[in-house]
Symmetry: C2
Subunit: 253 residues, 2 copies
Amino acid sequence: MKSIVLFGAGNVATHLFKAFSLAKNFEVVQVYNHKEPALDYFRKAVKTTTDLSQIVPADIYLLAVKDEAIPGLAKKLFPTNALIAHTSGGTSIDVFRNFSRAGVFYPLQTFSKTREVDFKNIPVCIEANNEADLKLLEEMAGEISGNIFNVSSEQRRSLHVAAVFVSNFVNYLYTEGEEICRQNNLPFDILQPLILETAEKITRLNPKEAQTGPAIRRDQSVIESHLQLLNPEQQKIYQVLTQSIQNLHGKKL
Amino acid sequence: MKSIVLFGAGNVATHLFKAFSLAKNFEVVQVYNHKEPALDYFRKAVKTTTDLSQIVPADIYLLAVKDEAIPGLAKKLFPTNALIAHTSGGTSIDVFRNFSRAGVFYPLQTFSKTREVDFKNIPVCIEANNEADLKLLEEMAGEISGNIFNVSSEQRRSLHVAAVFVSNFVNYLYTEGEEICRQNNLPFDILQPLILETAEKITRLNPKEAQTGPAIRRDQSVIESHLQLLNPEQQKIYQVLTQSIQNLHGKKL
């Protein structure tokens, strides 16, 4: 049995803790957080601490904390015999450059406190500064997911940007859609089958091929009638995205 | 049994034809298209024509043609005893202002030739210029979908804009995500669980509450490192959407 000390008590830490509670060969033996209240959830199941001097020895120190907290925490944990790894999409493995054993364990998903996730399909992107630890992280990822990728820090940085486009920005467009429904006394439910189909479609079709709508059709009269219905901020988004769609698909027309 | 003449042979017409082939009380008795080749698919199952003088009498004339083709087709079909209806999100019922019986039958979904759709969950937005025909369209929609909404032309125009945001523009952001993966030798598959979860999440959570990412966190160092990885067009999209997220969520911070 390999032992993990988990640092952090936010969404990622909580979902990872739940997932590892079902693992066969890895066990979370302690959870650290800098503040006490967030540890309430963990206390009934595992040892917890807010005191870095009380951290127990373990095979892996897994830092599921905010990006900006990683360097400071690393400094305080140095030196250690454990493999130190973080869960951040946007942080290079170089943040651990002083450590002989360092890695990254990045689950590529959007986590909310109130929503359960099934780790089985979540891609886990791993990286390590030596072969043995890459293998260790691969075993660890294999306990919770069937979807493991070796991803370098440079690739992961780009992947994180891509995730912002397909998740954070997409969710913002859903927010605009909901707002337009609300202003016109329409239930947001009416858009949900379209939202789901648009997402499911690209598991079969390349998104470039799946593009539809007035922008790609260059239907200027529809575009203009849409702009009239929007506020200045929505107009800006509409124009920038319409222009980009037309630039990308320009050669075809 | 109520009879339908279907005008058009594109994606919407084809999917509607398939759906009505299973209906109990409505039957497509003829398919018209202005060009011959697109009728090939229909010819084995139903009468087809490219000649408007050969249109048979029917209970409903359903125009599933391009928006810009609706006015011209309406002019040529005038006058008629049939209920004339179109399937367009962006066209007012007023396009049929000369007709005593007029309606709209708008299925709110993204249709691709190569992808089957299950109409049962697709919202069908109906409108008519008299009560009896609204009831007729309701029965007709009920044959293929369990999800029927009375939507005025004004509401439908806004709904169409909302659909552009949550489907056409979202698909474009998927295209950018795919491009970023391709440039970094990462399989696009790696983003698909995130894409699906982002879409499914908002069937439970309000999208405004579901917002995550560097923009809402105002994580300026991540935002700047992302911008460095993008081309000028991607930068513009990134900046406009980041700014909008921060404007919407400004009060909370």
